[in-house]
């Protein structure tokens, strides 16, 4: 998936930090139970950084939605973000392992410094 990003493997550090601060605000709204929409945050960053911002926003969103009775489905995300589906071939096929994977792997992924 990363190879489909307009930046290549990863956006530059300055963009990653901007994405981080936007995601922080998004998470604060989830914690305040405001129920923010990832869609509303995408305009806060340059267009070519949006696929990565969206990916990070959805990881946070899926984390907070993991206890909801209705499991988020790939179709829901395809409908919400049709313009971004081309960034993920799996999303286009409707399989969405990157969404499902996030749900499954939350809490199990470890990274070191």
């Amino acid at each position: 998936m990363s190879s489909t990003l307009p930046y290549g493997d990863w956006p530059p550090a300055s963009v990653v930090q901007k994405i981080d601060s936007i995601c922080d605000r998004f998470e604060a709204e989830w914690q305040a139970r405001i129920g923010p929409r990832a869609e509303d945050y995408l305009a806060q960053i340059a267009e070519r950084a949006r696929p990565e911002l969206l990916r990070q926003l959805l990881r946070v969103e899926l984390y907070y939605r993991r206890t909801e009775p209705e499991c988020p489905t790939p179709e829901e995300y395809e409908q919400r973000f049709p313009q971004h589906s081309h960034h993920s071939p799996s999303l286009r096929r409707g399989e969405c392992p990157w969404i499902g994977r996030d749900v499954i792997s939350i809490g199990s992924s470890e990274s070191s410094l």
Partner: protein
């Protein structure tokens, strides 16, 4: 195949004992690891060969380790880069330590030569490797940690870095800071980017 897909395939090959994957890995990571080693060794009057030796040694250690079934949790290019960073750092640190010993030992050998007949002198104690870091190395390490933490600027990033250094899992850090696990993973990525910039000016 994407770059991340290639790396995953190379890791798979190495695990299966196929050393042909070492060559593309070398092409992909060697230059970056040399830069990292150079940054780490910059306080030593070392030759270019040292930096390249460290980078090659790190890649070799990884390839051998993968072939022996170590690193079972390694899955993609991001994991691999972090692992190579750690191996390279450790090899560079070991080289610094060894250079320090050789320097001290060399001076001692000359000194011992002049005291060869001194029966009260116990020869070669300086050649015994220290079980703990020297005060100089410990101070250098502490200073390096302080510099890296300062470079983070943001308090949350510092808290995540310190917790990770303490050996906490991402879930434990998330619980402690009352944040989501994806947020902790994102913060760790930010920290790595900032520190890479610090280590490789």
């Amino acid at each position: 195949m994407s770059s991340s897909g290639s790396v995953t395939a190379w890791i798979g090959k190495l695990r299966a004992g196929d050393r042909s994957a070492a060559e593309p890995l070398l092409r992909c990571y060697f230059e970056r690891l040399v830069k990292l080693a150079r940054a780490k060794l910059r306080r030593l009057p070392t030759a270019m060969a040292d930096e390249e030796d460290v980078a090659l040694g790190a890649l070799d250690s990884f390839c051998r380790g993968a072939g022996q079934g170590r690193f079972p949790h390694l899955s993609d290019r991001d994991d691999l880069w972090r692992l190579l960073l750690v191996i390279t750092e450790r090899k560079a640190t070991r080289l610094i330590r060894n250079e320090g010993r050789i320097k001290r030992g060399g001076a001692k050998v000359r000194h011992e030569g002049s005291r060869a007949n001194d029966s009260t002198h116990t020869p070669g104690l300086d050649h015994v490797p220290a079980a703990t870091p020297t005060p100089e190395l410990a101070a250098q390490f502490a200073e390096e940690c302080r510099r890296l933490l300062q470079a983070l600027e943001d308090g949350t990033l510092r808290a995540v870095a310190l917790a990770k250094m303490d050996g906490c899992t991402n879930t434990e850090i998330a619980d402690r800071l009352k944040r989501s696990v994806p947020t902790i993973e994102r913060k760790l990525h930010c920290i790595r980017l900032i520190w890479e910039k610090e280590l490789i000016p």
